[in-house]
Symmetry: C2
Subunit: 110 residues, 2 copies
């Protein structure tokens, strides 16, 4: 690797997590799940399912597990209560400006 | 679909192209190819290959074709010259604010 390449590797993002996150966000329904949680705050499964009514419960469940593993979504349980709900983690909420940028771009080019 | 769902479908982005674009950007090397073209302008294949030296020529070639099909990259030929180079289309250049948002996010969370 020569000096110029080193310089560029330093300048340009080679973070594998960057590509990984994009691939997660590119999965059908994930962007919409994040949008709903950003705008509506904590949601129970049935509320999320009502908002994203074209996504089957099975797929919604899979996606939520995946987003939880990625550190984007929290699955919240409450001691002594059967209630479970879902919210964005700090890392997930921090996707807001990125979602705005994607909206701006897709509104213009879709 | 009830009124509330309709309202939300209207508010939240269901654009398939939105998810498709995320999935394209999530493919290994594509983000980096866009970054290099954003920062360096038109590039010949060998210059791109030198900047992105961990990506094989075969894969780089595939990615450029794909980005061209997506309307993000132009493959420029010059009449009477054997020169070929690659640049971002207007749609591709318009990804700049999105790339900044991704950088900010990944610098914080990677």
């Amino acid at each position: 690797m020569n000096q110029a390449t080193l310089k560029q590797s330093d300048t340009f993002c080679l973070c594998p997590r960057f590509e990984h996150t994009f691939s997660i966000l590119g999965k059908k329904w994930n962007g919409l799940i994040i949008e709903v949680l950003l705008h509506e705050g904590s949601q129970r499964f049935k509320d999320l399912a009502a908002s994203i009514d074209r996504c089957s419960d099975r797929v919604l469940c899979e996606r939520l597990k995946e987003l939880e593993q990625e550190g984007i979504v929290n699955r919240n349980t409450y001691p002594g209560e059967s209630r479970v709900d879902y919210s964005l983690t700090e890392q997930g909420r921090d996707l807001a400006p990125l979602m705005v940028a994607v909206h701006d771009w897709s509104n213009k080019w879709c």
